[in-house]
């Protein structure tokens, strides 16, 4: 068989069901073979969105998403999507076409050095220059993407490799990748610390979403009588209606979550890399706290927060080991009781009944109305932080967002990928008007492929998060943040064949969302929201969490 046929069979062999790709000159041999496959092919309108769709698919299915782009501009357009997946440890297989090996390096038409471009933003990448290695490379890519810490893998496929003959022998060659090394030598120290802890807190990161260790962590929290604080990436990894889950911490987090994070005596951090958005000023973070850091990636231990007890292993295994070791711990109820009381104080009513509509009101209604297994994606900016702070990710709900790279335009294509992975769930993108304009062409993809997602657009006419920073930290000197000449989003969506409603009164919000969840076509809800509303509370960048800006938040800061 030729290389293209081999690629198709190897993808089928990995049980790939859907490909997100845009063809091009050097990919013609591959696309010719794809005509005869049962794998579904989705044609996004921009390669970046192909990667985001595959990423959204991966985050829901927990299996690698596959995206395809042609050489040169196809590959460079893919870069943002691959980098997004890399920062959030999402297993992605990115295939790019490449000019023939004979002219590689000679500046051929549509040639870019994709191998070098992708290197720093992938877990690993390959450039196939010998057709004999093609099957091995394809198999290794899938293994690498899903072994240890997940991550994107890129394969650059020159056109002549796709045309050359591949032997059956090469196809059958088995492939192995080394298992990640576990290091639990600190386990006894960790257990000792946790046993002696008076005010333990568990910080849960994105690693827990990937390893699906939520139920075990909830069990551990009950054993330790410790509150659970999540990062943005772990929102929903443990249902937020669990009494010990305080919600998302960090710059725009719940104040009670930040309180627990900063006032515990022992912090058990699981599957998190201590991002600057979580820690605030790193030099002041955890100075009074003993930290046990659990991560599958040994290079994360001690990277940002130094001198701690480190346990290298996947969240599920380590948490079970801790549960086994902590059976004899005497329960201390005082800290737990205090936290539960503080949590009660930190549940303001954001059912704001005023016009113009407050964005919090939209999120409030979404929390109330969306079904128990709904999937929420977000764009990046104020919309993302309102969603993170106010959306109640209860039960089996899922929250998908670009946490690490912070890619505007992620949410809409990711929602399409998520809906393909789980068509039975309501999938909604909480969007901003800045982000949506970066990917609005994907209405075409949604309509063409019958992917009925709901887009809740919080339309305030600004690049709101940057505006908010200009307002608070740069003396309201606004530049390049007003989106004065935005399109009529309702007409825009309708032009693509989607449904759309504009909502301008708070009393119409709930009704619109109910209609949206029942829609069997892609639907845009254009909520015209108050441009003066900021995302608050917030901890300013580089400051510690007691220097926060309150806004509407009435929390008393733990009685201080």
């Amino acid at each position: 068989m030729n290389g293209s046929r081999a690629v198709v069979e190897l993808l089928e062999g990995q049980k790939v069901e859907v490909l997100f790709g845009i063809p091009g000159g050097v990919l013609l041999p591959l696309y010719d073979e794809l005509v005869d496959t049962k794998m579904r092919h989705i044609l996004p309108r921009h390669e970046q969105c192909a990667a985001h769709m595959a990423d959204g698919y991966a985050r829901v299915s927990k299996r690698p998403g596959v995206c395809i782009a042609t050489s040169g501009p196809g590959a460079t357009n893919l870069v943002t999507g691959v980098a997004t997946a890399f920062m959030d440890s999402s297993p992605l297989i990115a295939l790019t076409g490449q000019v023939a090996t004979g002219v590689l390096g000679n500046d051929a038409f549509q040639e870019a050095d994709s191998f070098s471009l992708m290197m720093p933003i992938t877990k690993h990448n390959f450039r196939v220059t010998d057709s004999k290695t093609l099957p091995e490379v394809m198999k290794r890519a899938f293994l690498i993407a899903t072994t240890g810490r997940y991550g994107p893998v890129h394969i650059d496929l020159p056109i002549d490799i796709l045309q050359e003959e591949i032997s059956d022998e090469a196809m059958k060659k088995p492939v192995r990748v080394p298992k990640p090394k576990r290091n639990l030598s600190g386990l006894l120290d960790a257990i000792k610390l946790l046993e002696g802890a008076e005010r333990p807190t568990i910080l849960v990161g994105g690693g827990v979403s990937w390893s699906r260790a939520g139920p075990e962590i909830a069990q551990l929290a009950e054993l330790l009588t410790a509150p659970i604080v999540t990062t943005l990436m772990a929102k929903g990894a443990i249902p937020e209606d669990h009494p010990l889950v305080l919600g998302v911490c960090g710059m725009h987090g719940k104040q009670v979550a930040n309180y627990a994070l900063n006032n515990c005596d022992v912090l058990l951090a699981i599957g998190t890399r201590f991002s600057d958005r979580v820690t605030g000023k790193l030099s002041e973070f955890g100075t009074k706290t003993k930290i046990v850091h659990v991560d599958i990636d040994s290079s994360e231990i001690g990277k940002n927060v130094k001198g701690r007890v480190g346990l290298v292993g996947d969240a599920w295994t380590v948490v079970n080991a801790l549960i086994a070791g902590l059976q004899k711990r005497k329960k201390r109820a005082t800290w737990k009781d205090r936290i539960i009381e503080l949590r009660r104080e930190c549940t303001c009513d954001y059912n704001l009944r005023s016009d113009p509509i407050k964005p919090q009101k939209v999120i409030h209604e979404l929390s109330d109305i969306l079904p128990g297994d709904a999937i929420v994606t977000t764009e990046v900016g104020q919309n993302q932080m309102w969603a993170s702070h106010f959306f109640r990710c209860n039960g089996k709900r899922m929250f998908i967002t670009s946490g690490g790279l912070g890619t505007m335009g992620f949410g809409f294509p990711a929602a399409l990928g998520a809906k393909i992975a789980r068509p039975e769930s309501v999938v909604t993108d909480i969007a901003g008007d800045g982000s949506l304009q970066m990917v609005s062409q994907e209405f075409s993809t949604a309509v063409e492929n019958d992917i009925p997602v709901m887009i809740c657009l919080l339309n305030n006419g600004w690049l709101g998060m940057v505006k908010q920073w200009q307002k608070h930290f740069y003396g309201s000197r606004y530049l390049a943040t007003n989106l004065g000449k935005s399109p009529d989003f309702v007409k825009l969506a309708e032009a693509y064949g989607a449904e759309a409603i504009r909502i301008e009164k708070h009393s119409e919000v709930a009704e619109a969302i109910k209609r949206g969840t029942k829609s069997d076509v892609p639907i845009l809800l254009d909520f015209v929201v108050d441009p003066e509303e900021d995302v608050l509370p917030m901890t300013p960048p580089g400051k510690s969490s007691d220097e926060w800006i309150k806004g509407r938040c009435r929390w008393k800061g733990g009685g201080k």
């Binding site: 191998f115 290197m119 690993h124 450039r127 220059t129 990748v177 990636d297 290079s299 231990i301």
Partner: protein
């Protein structure tokens, strides 16, 4: 002087990937030795740099690379220096401990020289 030794696959792109870890962590390396080793299709890379803390910070990332089979710090006693000097008398090769090589270079003040640290 701190030395990291690696066993890697011998294929295009490995050096770029290894060096990228130093670039990302804004580490300037002092010397690099790369060459074939006792195993077919494998290479050894020996890198020296000044700061131990920095070296320890990078080494975990190097171990995470697919093409790096092993990465370890080398004990100071096993560091070896070598240099080539050019002076009026012609080309001169020096080998020995890092300190010995450095002292010879200092004493002879050559027109040109290059000094490398290696270890096994």
């Amino acid at each position: 002087m701190e030395v990291i030794t690696m066993l890697t696959y011998d294929q295009p792109g490995v050096m770029q990937r290894v060096m990228a870890e130093f670039t990302r962590k804004k580490v300037n390396v002092d010397t690099i030795v790369v060459g074939p080793c006792e195993m077919p299709d494998r290479s050894r890379i020996v890198i020296s740099l000044r700061d131990r803390e920095t070296a320890l910070g990078v080494i975990e990332h190097l171990r995470g690379l697919q093409e790096v089979i092993e990465a370890d710090m080398v004990d100071h006693r096993r560091h070896e220096g070598y240099a080539i000097m050019l002076s009026k008398g012609g080309v001169c090769r020096i080998t020995g401990s890092v300190e010995e090589v450095e002292s010879v270079i200092k004493k002879s003040q050559p027109d040109k020289y290059i000094e490398v640290v290696n270890a096994i």
